[in-house]
């Protein structure tokens, strides 16, 4: 077998991946600075009752998210990548092409895993040294064993998560689209895991113990190689022919008819109303696709079933309400940044920005359309939950809900998460200002990219376990009011900043970034 370093396909893929990794002095300095910020930040704000096992397990969840995201990101961008046709026509087997890509991805995820592992070790060591673990003197002694067990677990995660993410490339059409559901079922709960593993609950602590992770890692390592081989075959067999057929900027699926018999999206009104309708048409189109419909119907059924069973316990129903409304906290921000950047990458933004409207109006219409879509989706799920609960009540099940207290708590949960979503989406409007210079980028990007882990912040500061136990008082409402006031102020500022620098999207596309990286690389030493 050819050495990895001698494989030109791998070298080519790796040349792109390693541009982000600490293999140059500059990148190493950035990674070291980031590591120091994480260690200091987490060390300062992490509550004392978090065990080192929880910390390592939290790192494991993050690595899984990174691994999936790198794989999914590659699968999602491959179809619109201008380099795609060159890649497909290389005189190598398709399996060889996919294998090289996957290997480079695994090494990339491995590099992130090493960084996270180092951060966890440093945080745990500092906390052990500073006496945080005084309540459990055995904790410090367990650290060396923990370090090895979780290192093994992190190593096992990289190939599994990267390959599962990349497998998306083979799920774009036909019955294989149904595989999106188990893939989503594996990926989406990872965000919830980040905060769930921090619980001091005995069952959680057993699940995150070094022993459990060690045995899990051994099993995962046995599965990793066959899984990677299987994914390479699957993607080469199904994904690559579809990729070759796919026309850049064409419709997402081949099954869509080329013509429509009558207009599905009718424009109404003029001015802002027309603009809002135009923005909404994007989400209405997306939600009319079969996978989106199936996914939503499954969520509705799950919400109804959840309502039926969870209503037996007040905390159960409150947890469910929190789960169903959590999307209002993170989804608008993520959708806003993705949609506008994608429009810029696909050269659609220039049409939008050249529409004869004030830029604030353009942004506001986009923001409103995203919120209308998210609220409609959340309202449907809540209605399904209420219907499920009503069925339970109708058939005479006991419903120990204290309407006054639990209704008040439910209202607080919904309002506080909504306020958080408004805050994050308002700040996201300022995203183009991040392209202006490094300082604005450092201010805005951590907030916008932090939207993905909004559930952690929400469960830490807004919807805490005390709240879910029904303890909502003036203090909690004051916190929610502060978040809402911040949303109003920062949202207004975000709108003004975003409108002012909106044009910077035009010169900061994926293509421009790749060219810039390429230009930077040419000044450095060779990569291969």
């Amino acid at each position: 077998m050819k050495k990895l370093t001698e494989d030109p396909l791998f070298a080519l893929e790796w040349s792109s991946s390693r541009l982000f990794l600490p293999f140059s002095v500059r990148n190493a300095a950035v990674w070291a600075a980031f590591l120091a910020i994480v260690v200091i930040g987490v060390g300062l704000f992490l509550p004392d009752d978090i065990t080192p096992e929880s910390l390592f397990a939290c790192g494991a969840a993050m690595i899984a998210i990174i691994g999936f995201s790198i794989g999914l990101g590659s699968a999602l961008t491959q179809r619109e990548n201008p380099w795609k046709d060159w890649w497909l026509t290389m005189p190598h087997s398709r399996e060889a092409l996919v294998r090289a890509k996957l290997l480079a991805m695994i090494l990339t995820v491995g590099s992130f895993a090493a960084g996270i592992w180092l951060a966890c070790v440093l945080i745990a060591a500092v906390r052990a040294q500073s006496g945080v673990y005084w309540t459990d003197p055995g904790t410090a002694g367990r650290l060396p064993g923990d370090m090895l067990a979780y290192a093994l677990a992190y190593a096992a995660e990289a190939p599994i998560c990267a390959s599962l993410g990349l497998s998306l490339l083979g799920m774009y059409s036909g019955y294989r689209r149904w595989l999106l559901l188990p893939l989503a079922a594996l990926f989406l709960p990872l965000y919830g895991m980040i905060s769930a593993v921090l619980s001091p609950n005995a069952a959680v602590q057993r699940a995150v113990s070094a022993e459990a992770f060690f045995y899990g890692a051994c099993a995962a390592l046995l599965v990793a190689a066959p899984l990677c081989k299987g994914v390479v075959r699957f993607v080469a067999g199904y994904g690559m022919p579809e990729l070759a057929r796919h026309r850049s900027n064409g419709l997402l699926t081949r099954k869509r008819k080329e013509t429509v018999s009558q207009a599905r999206f009718k424009a109404n009104g003029t001015g802002f109303r027309a603009l809002f309708g135009f923005e909404r048409s994007r989400y209405r189109h997306f939600s009319s696709s079969s996978p989106a419909r199936v996914l939503y119907v499954m969520l509705v059924l799950a919400a109804a079933a959840g309502g039926c069973f969870a209503v037996a316990q007040p905390q159960g129903i409150l947890n469910l309400i929190m789960g169903l409304t959590m999307a209002t906290a993170w989804a608008p921000s993520i959708v806003l940044s993705l949609v506008t950047q994608t429009d810029a990458n696909r050269r659609r933004l220039v049409w939008w920005i050249a529409l004869p409207f004030r830029r604030r109006t353009l942004l506001l219409a986009r923001w409103t359309a995203v919120w209308a879509t998210v609220l409609k989706g959340a309202a449907g799920l809540l209605a399904a939950m209420i219907a499920g609960a009503a069925v339970r009540w109708g058939i005479g099940g006991s419903v120990p809900v204290l309407w006054n207290r639990d209704g008040h708590t439910a209202l607080y949960v919904a309002v506080s998460l909504l306020a958080m979503g408004l805050l994050l989406s308002g700040i996201t409007l300022a995203y183009p200002a991040a392209y202006r210079n490094a300082w604005t980028a450092w201010l805005i990007l951590p907030v916008t990219s932090g939207a993905a882990i909004a559930p952690i912040f929400a469960s830490r500061w807004l919807v805490t376990e005390r709240v879910l136990a029904g303890e909502v008082g003036p203090e909690q409402w004051r916190t929610a009011a502060i978040v809402a006031a911040a949303a109003l102020a920062l949202g207004g500022a975000g709108l003004a900043l975003g409108a002012k620098w909106l044009h910077l999207y035009l010169t900061n596309t994926q293509d421009a970034a790749q060219r810039l990286r390429g230009a930077g690389r040419s000044r450095g030493r060779p990569l291969v």
């Binding site: 900027n249 419709l251 013509t259 599905r264 424009a267 048409s281 004869p356």
Partner: protein
């Protein structure tokens, strides 16, 4: 180079004075100065990387200049002037999930100067199928739909950035003929950036030659012809 005035006397449709722009620390436009009179069909010509698209984005107000001034019909250009400018971006994309008819339905509501009559006329002339989804259109079909969107407006200034890129011969002819048709009333001003000099040479009233971010030369085409030269020969003289 000083200010070059092209076209009829009176208030110019476009006026750039000492315009400078840098993108990512690279100077893309340097001391650009020229005027295009109202009612002209002007060509903006230059090799790749000359700064043509950046200049057009300045004129449409999509980008602000770092220094200098850009005026349209005597007032500063900017996002608030977009109602007066119909812009065809270079290799821009319309929403792929809409059909041509759905897009035109939205466009009629989004552009206050939209003319339904002109839309109907051009839909037939440019052979655009309203039922066809944009995502399934060929490059030529989509280019025609994009041009249709620009021409269905009654904006006094039309700025077209490489309208022929990747477009087949028949579509080129249809596009060129549609542009000529729009010029019939002599009221509208066109500025067209293109590499296809031969295709458009006979249409231009004037040309601005842009290279390395500066105006290398500007000519009235009629005067060029009278001196026995062509647009192509001029282009070769300046850039070869």
């Amino acid at each position: 180079m000083g200010m070059t005035k092209l076209g009829r006397a009176g208030a110019p449709a476009i006026r750039c004075d000492k315009v400078e722009v840098s993108i990512k620390k690279k100077k893309v436009l340097n001391q650009v100065a020229f005027e295009v009179g109202a009612g002209c069909l002007a060509g903006l010509l230059g090799p790749n990387g000359a700064g043509k698209s950046t200049l057009l984005r300045l004129l449409t107000g999509l980008l602000p200049p770092d220094s200098g001034s850009v005026e349209l019909f005597g007032a500063p250009a900017g996002p608030d002037r977009l109602a007066e400018v119909s812009f065809l971006p270079d290799r821009g994309q319309l929403p792929v999930y809409l059909s041509a008819g759905e897009w035109l339905g939205f466009a009629a509501r989004l552009y206050p100067d939209w003319s339904r009559a002109r839309e109907r006329e051009l839909t037939a002339k440019l052979e655009v199928d309203p039922a066809r989804r944009i995502g399934s259109m060929s490059r030529g079909e989509e280019a025609r739909l994009q041009l249709l969107t620009c021409l269905s407006r009654e904006a006094p200034l039309l700025i077209l950035d490489e309208p022929f890129t990747g477009v087949d011969l028949l579509s080129r002819e249809r596009i060129a003929s549609a542009v000529v048709g729009e010029m019939a009333d002599g009221e509208r001003t066109f500025l067209i950036a293109t590499h296809d000099i031969r295709e458009m040479e006979h249409l231009f009233d004037s040309i601005v030659l842009l290279g390395d971010g500066t105006v290398k030369a500007a000519y009235e085409v009629e005067a060029l012809r009278e001196s026995g030269r062509s647009v192509e020969s001029c282009y070769r003289e300046v850039f070869a």
